[in-house]
């Protein structure tokens, strides 16, 4: 069965590129433009990996991450934070809240794909 990847970001341009990259690797891709939408989507069907932006209105990526980790049903879901918040403190915060990986924008698409494949053990 194909692995499910949930892309959470409110910027349509980056979403387009991410969806393309993930689908090219054979992953099933779902998109959520806000934190609330992401949690709803996970309720409906849990994902294997979440590509999570931080800077979103109302529910930001850090809070979404904390909530995902707070739910025992989603303990196997990998979380990769993809964010413009690039300081070391912010990286530590993300990892402390339960992210498995913290990637700063702009990023190399090749490296991201390799990392995702590594984390999901291939499609």
């Amino acid at each position: 069965m194909a692995k499910r990847v949930l892309v959470v970001d409110d910027e349509p341009n980056i979403v387009m590129s991410l969806r393309f990259l993930m689908e090219r690797e054979g992953f099933e891709v779902e998109v959520a433009p806000t934190g609330e939408a992401a949690l709803e989507a996970l309720e409906k069907a849990p994902a294997d990996l979440v590509l999570l932006d931080v800077m979103m209105p109302r529910l930001d990526g850090f809070e979404v991450c904390q909530r995902i980790r707070g739910n025992p049903l989603w303990v196997d879901t990998k979380i990769v934070m993809l964010t413009a918040k690039g300081r070391e403190v912010e990286r530590d915060k993300g990892l402390a809240l339960g992210a498995d990986e913290y990637v700063t924008k702009p990023f190399s698409t090749r490296d991201l794909v390799a990392r995702v494949k590594e984390m999901l053990g291939g499609a």
């Binding site: 529910l59 850090f62 809070e63 904390q66 300081r87 403190v89 530590d92 915060k93 809240l97």
Partner: protein
């Protein structure tokens, strides 16, 4: 019986005797018992005898006691106020006596009161003075006070810390040797002109400026204020300064870097944009061009990413700007927060866990933030005992607020950060304080099961982390760090050196120890020590003491004399380094030494080679002693000390001898002034004459010996 009555009785008696004698004489002569030639002379004799008796009585009743009283009063005034007035025999002075006794008593009492008041007032003044001294010592900014001609009157500890423990940084030294002259004199002139133009209302004005040290190696942020005299003119100024080199340098550097990085972004953005816009219309121009443009897009976007990273790094810390930050110890912070919590609401209580770590930040605001967060955690979790742990994480230091319970949701933490620190002081929220420290805040589970924490990462300290709290490196104590009498000297300093009064000059009294007595035969200096006298005060905090490597063996005889062994001078600097240091220490003071020619002979050998010149005026205490007591043959240091009753300590150690010579020199100054020798020129002329005399005597002695040989 009063004096008046006694006098009345005496004169009445005299009158009665006189009358009696006349009556008796008349009766005797008229009755023919005795011849007239016998009676009247006899009567006269008796009358005179009666006068003599009255005079004696007068002496005893009045004159004697009153003279005694006058003497007693004189003694009272001039000698001992405590001595009681002795009652002269014959207390017939009556009211006068009682009045004087009462006056004496009153006078004694008022003098005692006056002395007591004086002692109390002096004690108060001294207390104020020592408190002021403590405040000055403790200032974190450097403080230097100078006279109008820029001679130093006051130097506090912070000034020494900032400028370094240089020999030029001392009383009565020129400020120009330490700080660039032009900005200082410009600021002083500006303030003084303003004072003249606009009057005493501007007296409190300050002039702020940045200037460099004399060596040009450091920048100082300075503020100057005038020292005013009673007549409203400025006799000097006070300079308060701090080292701005690092801060100014850092800020400038950071800004320059950021500006450069921003400029470097323009190129890749331009290339990207151009390629993208061209690509829009490139469909018609062929696959090769399309491929090339796509390659440009890819390449330039990577370049842009890299430049962006560089900009972020350059801008790191720019947000902190000019906020005052210092190294803080975590346990101190915790203690302060816990105290605030205990004083206000009593809950929660904070305990420091683990060793203290140093971090860098704004103590006041961090305390306020931690206090707020502790209260918020207490409200949210009902826990009243919280721990605060400091951990090292790479370069940063993390403060963890720990409680028993669950982590706090991100949303709640964000709400906490929106709170104002202290509504009274305005607009700073907890979030702003965190931003200033380049920090974030989050909650996560603690390693200990059932516990959670709030983590606050903070910048690392400037100093290295050490296990123990380090005391600030103690500077050697400088008990005499000011002398405002030097203010009055500015005008006098304009006079030529030889005309200056001896008591006003600054002296450097020095002594050397050597390998032997013959500089021309290879003997060299092994130690130079000196002490400074300013305004007749020996500055115990400003001594010079250096061992010198003579680069030759030290004879045992010499070591027996001064105790300096070859092990002691091992690794010491040679004369090439020490003599110029000593030259700097002397500055423009007058040199004083005992048998100065001996020491100077060693200096002269090195002068040309090292480029230092000891052409200062020189006073030789040996020659002064010979001048003052030329009838005595003995003028060694021990002899002179015995004469003045001074105990020499550390004899034949250079510093001990220098201090001893300095103490003797101060006494000699008094004697010279008593002899009418008040100016430097006069003292030099005196010692010059004695030197000539001794030289001639030595020559004669030599000639005589040669003749008799």
């Amino acid at each position: 019986m009063s004096a008046r009555r006694r006098f009345w009785i005496l004169f009445a008696l005299l009158a009665l005797v006189g009358a009696g004698l006349v009556i008796a004489g008349l009766w005797l002569t008229s009755s023919g018992l005795l011849p007239a030639g016998l009676v009247w002379p006899g009567a006269l004799l008796v009358f005179l005898a009666a006068h003599a008796i009255v005079w004696l009585a007068l002496e005893r009743i009045w004159l004697g006691p009153s003279t005694a009283l006058a003497r007693e009063i004189q003694l009272l005034i001039h000698a001992n106020a405590e001595r009681p007035l002795t009652v002269p025999a014959g207390r017939s002075l009556g009211p006068l006596w009682d009045a004087v006794v009462a006056l004496a008593e009153q006078w004694r009492r008022s003098r005692a009161e006056h002395e007591l008041a004086l002692v109390e007032a002096l004690a108060k003044v001294r207390q104020q003075q020592s408190r002021l001294e403590a405040v000055l010592r403790d200032l974190s900014d450097g403080l230097i006070a100078c006279s109008a001609d820029r001679r130093i009157l006051l130097v506090n500890d912070a000034a020494v810390r900032i400028l370094g423990a240089l020999p030029e940084l001392g009383l009565d030294r020129p400020l120009d040797a330490l700080i660039a002259r032009e900005p200082i004199s410009h600021a002083f002139e500006l303030l003084r002109d303003r004072l003249r133009e606009e009057g005493p209302a501007t007296a409190g004005a300050r002039e702020e400026f940045v200037c460099a040290t004399a060596g040009g190696d450091r920048l100082l942020r300075c503020r100057m204020a005038l020292i005013l005299e009673a007549d409203g003119d400025a006799s000097g100024f006070v300079l308060d300064f701090a080292d701005a080199t690092e801060r100014l340098g850092r800020i400038e550097e950071r800004e320059a870097r950021v500006v450069r990085q921003i400029e470097e972004l323009r190129a890749p953005v331009a290339a990207l944009r151009a390629a993208a816009e061209v690509l829009e219309h490139a469909g018609s121009s062929g696959a090769a061009r399309r491929t090339a443009l796509l390659e440009v897009l890819r390449h330039e976007s990577v370049a842009l990413s890299e430049r962006l990273e560089a900009l972020c790094r350059a801008a790191e810390g720019l947000a902190r700007g000019d906020w005052p930050m210092a190294d803080l110890l975590s346990v101190d912070l915790v203690r302060a927060v816990d105290r605030r919590l205990a004083e206000t609401s009593g809950r929660p209580r904070l305990t420091a866990v683990g060793p203290g770590l140093w971090l860098h930040g704004d103590g006041y605001h961090l305390c306020a933030v931690l206090e707020r967060l502790a209260r918020c955690v207490h409200e949210a979790t009902v826990q009243s005992e919280l721990d605060l742990e400091a951990r090292s994480h790479g370069r940063r230091v993390e403060l963890d607020l720990v409680w028993q319970g669950d982590p706090v949701p991100v949303g709640t933490v964000e709400k906490w950060l929106e709170q104002l620190i202290d509504p009274a002081t305005g607009h700073y929220r907890l979030r702003d304080v965190l931003a200033r420290h380049g920090s974030e805040l989050w909650s996560q589970p603690h390693a200990r099961p059932g516990h959670a924490l709030l983590r606050l990462p903070l910048p690392p300290p400037n100093r290295p982390q050490v296990g123990e709290r380090q005391r600030r490196k103690a500077l050697p104590p400088r008990p005499e760090f000011y002398d405002f009498e030097l203010l009055a000297r500015a005008a006098a300093r304009a006079a030529p050196l030889l005309e200056r009064p001896l008591g006003e000059l600054s002296y450097v009294v020095f002594d050397t120890e050597t390998t032997g007595l013959r500089p021309d035969a290879g003997d060299r200096i092994v130690q130079i020590a000196a002490v400074r006298i300013v305004n007749r005060r020996l500055l115990s905090g400003e001594t010079f003491d250096a061992l010198v490597d003579p680069r030759r063996p030290i004879p045992k005889a010499a070591t027996r004399f001064h105790g300096i062994t070859e092990t002691m001078i091992h690794g010491r600097p040679p004369i090439e380094i020490v003599l110029p240091q000593f030259h700097r220490y002397v500055g423009d003071a007058v040199l004083v030494a005992h048998n100065a020619d001996f020491d100077l002979a060693f200096f002269r050998r090195e002068e040309e080679r090292l480029g230092v010149c000891f052409d200062h005026p020189l006073l030789d205490t040996l020659l002064i002693s010979a001048a003052l007591h030329d009838h005595l043959p003995a003028h060694s240091l021990d002899d002179i000390a015995a004469r003045f009753g001074i105990v020499l300590i550390d004899r034949h150690r250079a510093l001990g001898d220098a201090i001893g010579t300095a103490q003797l020199f101060l006494r000699m100054l008094d004697l010279l002034e008593a002899r009418g020798i008040r100016k430097l020129g006069e003292a030099l002329a005196l010692t010059g004459r004695i030197a000539d005399l001794r030289r001639r005597r030595a020559q004669e002695f030599g000639n005589r010996r040669a003749a008799s040989a």
